[in-house]
Subunit: 348 residues, 2 copies
């Protein structure tokens, strides 16, 4: 019933080469233990038969699977694919296979996926995990875990520090004459969101700017559109959005409303996932997701090799990429900042 393909086994190779299976096994894993001639003989036989070691059998006896799992909240969010791709290329260098999990922003789903993968991976990379700190610690106790954009003490983590870029954005807007900003937030469980919100507040304070905060659970084009009216109602003359998608949605909505960007309202995105592909090209905070993916994988590999978890906290800096959605405030706009702040739904 089971559609077992008749792939040759180690025994068949052994028979063909006139040795025992121990030698065949060693020819593949520790050839230096064998005489060169034996290795050659075995390789030839293996080649001839088309032998490929059985992954499950090997995993069963060694406990190492040669697999890792990468879990992201939303594959379709353009922030993640380049990261996924980079992580995968790195894994490839180490001959590891990558399971991809899509938690769909749902902690329950994320937890379930981890459970499903747990039996056949050596470690996890959790990107922008939506789990609680406790859950993460618990999982990390079982298997090596590396986090990206999540700051949990004791768990190795790669953090993209958008704070620096966001601060630059605020400073840039201040220089352009803006007096009141609105920060349009992102998902609740997101470490990046919290970090950006705090960075906006702090930098604004340094520059003596007013800040309104609007929360917006789902980061996407459509929700960016929806939130735009509320953003305008705060009386701010510029918005810093949680991410480029949100910003892009705002641009579309602003265009439909006849609000000129950047003349009447400035917009800054975050993560630079759209490049110069928006209209007008979006001023945004740079993105280090490729490096983050690469670094996370290398870190995980190192941990797996040394079998020792170091408390690493690796921070990647960002900076502002100025394009065309920010500009000098119009003369009349500054005074309006004082009005209409009742639409704020500030969170801390």
């Amino acid at each position: 019933m089971t559609p077992r393909q008749n792939r040759p086994t180690i025994n068949q190779v052994a028979a063909a080469a006139g040795v025992t299976k121990s030698s065949v096994s060693r020819a593949f894993t520790r050839p230096e233990m064998l005489s060169p001639e034996t290795v050659r003989k075995i390789s030839a036989a293996a080649e001839r038969l088309g032998y490929v070691p059985n992954h499950s059998a090997r995993a069963l006896s060694t406990g190492r699977h040669g697999n890792i799992a990468l879990i992201v909240p939303d594959v379709a969010n353009p922030f993640f694919p380049p990261l996924i791709s980079a992580a995968q290329s790195e894994a490839d260098r180490f001959d590891y296979c990558v399971f991809l999990g899509n938690s769909n922003e749902d902690p329950g789903q994320e937890d379930k996926l981890i459970g499903r993968f747990a039996g056949q991976v050596e470690g996890f990379v959790l990107v922008s995990s939506r789990l609680s700190d406790d859950q993460i610690v618990e999982h990390a106790a079982r298997r090596p875990v590396v986090l990206i954009n999540r700051d949990v003490k004791g768990i190795p983590r790669i953090l993209i520090d958008s704070a620096a870029g966001v601060a630059e954005a605020v400073s840039h807007l201040a220089t352009l004459g803006h007096r009141k900003l609105v920060y349009v937030g992102g998902p609740h469980g997101s470490w990046s969101n919290k970090q950006r919100r705090i960075a906006v507040r702090r930098a604004a304070k340094d520059h003596g700017l007013e800040v309104a905060v609007i929360s917006n659970e789902f980061a996407a084009f459509e929700s960016g559109r929806k939130i735009t009216a509320a953003a305008l109602a705060t009386g701010a003359t510029a918005a810093i959005a949680f991410d480029d998608l949100t910003a892009q949605g705002m641009l579309a909505e602003l265009a439909d409303m006849g609000v000129a960007v950047p003349a009447d309202f400035a917009v800054v995105g975050c993560d630079d996932v759209l490049g110069a592909a928006t209209y007008p090209p979006l001023t945004t905070v740079s993105n280090r997701s490729v490096e983050a993916g690469k670094a996370a994988l290398n870190l995980l590999m190192e941990i797996l090799q040394n079998n020792a978890i170091r408390d690493v906290r690796y921070v990647l800096d960002t900076n502002l990429v100025i394009r065309k959605t920010t500009g000098q405030v119009k003369a009349g706009k500054r005074s309006e900042a004082a009005l209409g702040s009742d639409a704020n739904r500030a969170r801390n």
Copy 2:
């Protein structure tokens, strides 16, 4: 040395429940063979110990891994993530884990990935595979394979028929008064590219339009920009691009060149991956990638269950989504069509 976690094994559960491991095994796989009371006893013991069956051990003895592999040419191309996400959700329903492979448009890499995965998956979904037909047939002989956007006889396949949408686009452009079109191509090995090119040619013939074809190996924003001058030089008044990314690049370049869209030049994309997010919002051919991903997975699951490969060829229709990058040809433009066709680099 091996960091084997001390997860409880079937033997420990057996001991705790006072039965043999056969019964524990059956309690999980064929509970109807056991008395309800025994099942209850075993479940309780398993629960208490936190027992989870070992995936590798199970795979070793049954030959089924509960894994499948999904291979795409470029994770970062926005066409694929929604498909990946959809396939994953479906896999989840069947308790399957998904390996993701990124071939980076390279047949060699794709082949290598398949080899790496082969030992631990029950089947493959190859999306827009860049392998040769022979290679695909060869792999399909070993493991069940389902193709998306690749038409190989005898291999189950899901095809997104953009031909219908493309034909609609040509007809739409003809109605608007265009007399000469240019098709801006995509990757060589791409079935979709071939299909679209043929569809453009055929529909253009039906409507008595002239067609130039420009090839453009890598489908992306930047290459879309680069190809724009050549596209204009053909003397066409409208372009149909292999995909939205290419079209978006063309829009950016046209804007920089001061060519008004759609007044001076019309652009049609393909795959509708950008939604209304370009400026102007892009007229494009609809996309069925989510359905394709879902269908491919269900097909694969069916094949795995029935252990019989049917020669399925499942076609998903598309249609034109008219937005703002196509419009009536300006009076003076029609006559220009006859000129400047020396820049054509037509391929068949």
